[in-house]
Symmetry: D2
Subunit: 156 residues, 4 copies
């Protein structure tokens, strides 16, 4: 069995997941806080796919981790038990010590929820803010360049 | 043992809670999605304190429930295992079919996280949007009036 | 992306999963209740792989679901953030209205936790106990027969 | 607001809790793994009430914690949204390096679920098994003595 979940494509990361009982509530739908779990699984696999190792193991030297500073989420439609969803993740904005990630939780073509998540990178032991891993900058630069080229081509 | 959690005071609702293992993650702090759980517990007890019965039991006639349309959360400081927290909830804006609730998760005087949550009231069976329960309007009117009076007194 | 998780092989069902932040606690390990979540995801995909549709959607006619009557779990070793685990599921005992499932949560060859879960099949609306889906009996018969044959071959 | 939850009485610890959306699933009942959360909250407040400080804060000197070795749970009846439950906890067996706790999750007089949980006490940093805190032995001795006395009185 493969140990990779999700795939990078066209400047976005696609992460699949199934809705289980644990994700739902007595309203018969996915509980509103659990979209943040889905989003974090997707971000984790996204940075793993980029080659960034997120590691908080305190036994290791100098562990560091991404932490969420701010999160906005719009709920448009409900997800249900057994749904097969995809979280589509892209970097919307790249700063020196934080980035903004846009994430869409989709069922097929339908967008169920949209998140904007501001994330920083910190040293676990002393909570010091660190420079973002260079893999993120490289990916963002490439994704943005490809996007511009596509726009230009489309415009011609 | 009392069956009431939290108290209404000065236009706000104060809801206490303890942080348990289930709330924390390997970073040693409360997991970011769990603040939304805390906030919902507080909103649930808030409307219960106002006399609004939220009831999704499908066996009952015409069950209705609050649903979250949008949520913004700013994370300022971490909460830790065993922390004793208070969620302070107030209505920030009252619309016809939705309201915006402001919630602060505090440890003593310190605000750890701030949420703005847009909530609607729906019929569980057909997901139809309903008028907000009148108890909420009454409370908001009273809280706003008291607030203005306080401001005026302070200004004198 | 495939919509199937896990595979049936040699009378067992192998379900892979990654450990995310949401699964861990401040002790730096997977929180003890979350093994039951892992086990349920595996059982759900197991019965799906067998062709049994578990469906609690109240809008559908006559929805039914598996419910857990009893669960035993032995914790041997901890699972950690980022671990890639496999839940190995097999039917240990087949009764008329309940079955016992044995599940092992493994990291590679190492068994981290062992569960025995007694499950019944019920009608969601009236909670009436139902006969188990025939797919389970068929699978159990085949798995047991193959197992005996293997034992006989091994004994020769 | 009091910072104490639950009370010690007659050799048992009574811990109250409310069922919120987060605790339920699409079956309309409390999700089976969440009883383990309820039980742990109760055990945590139980040892706190006995004066045992459980503290995993890695910044502190020599942190130690209770870890679960084994858990059995029988599910008898469902708990529902908004239910007000009590977890009744008592020490069933006291060993040198582990104890067995019996816990009942009740709605009024009705027992919804029964757990037996085997717990050890470990040093967080090196996972070494420690002697159990003396407060537990003292409590168990007193509870057992009172229980015998009551039995004798009842027999007279």
């Amino acid at each position: 069995m493969a140990e990779n979940y999700g795939k990078l494509q066209d400047g976005k990361f696609y992460f699949p997941l199934r809705v289980y009982y644990e994700d739902t509530d007595a309203g018969g739908v996915v509980y509103y806080a659990n979209y943040l779990k889905f989003a974090e699984r997707a971000r984790t696999e996204f940075v793993r796919a980029l080659g960034v190792m997120q590691n908080q193991d305190l036994a290791k030297e100098n562990p560091c981790a991404f932490v969420v500073r701010r999160c906005e989420i719009d709920y448009r439609s409900s997800a249900f038990l057994d749904d097969f969803l995809t979280v589509v993740t892209q970097i919307e904005q790249m700063g020196g010590v934080s980035l903004v990630v846009k994430q869409e939780v989709c069922r097929g073509e339908q967008i169920l929820a949209t998140l904007k998540v501001k994330v920083a990178y910190v040293s676990v032991k002393d909570k010091k803010i660190l420079k973002l891993p260079p893999e993120l900058n490289a990916w963002y630069a490439a994704a943005t360049a490809a996007d511009k080229k596509n726009s230009n081509n489309a415009a011609e």
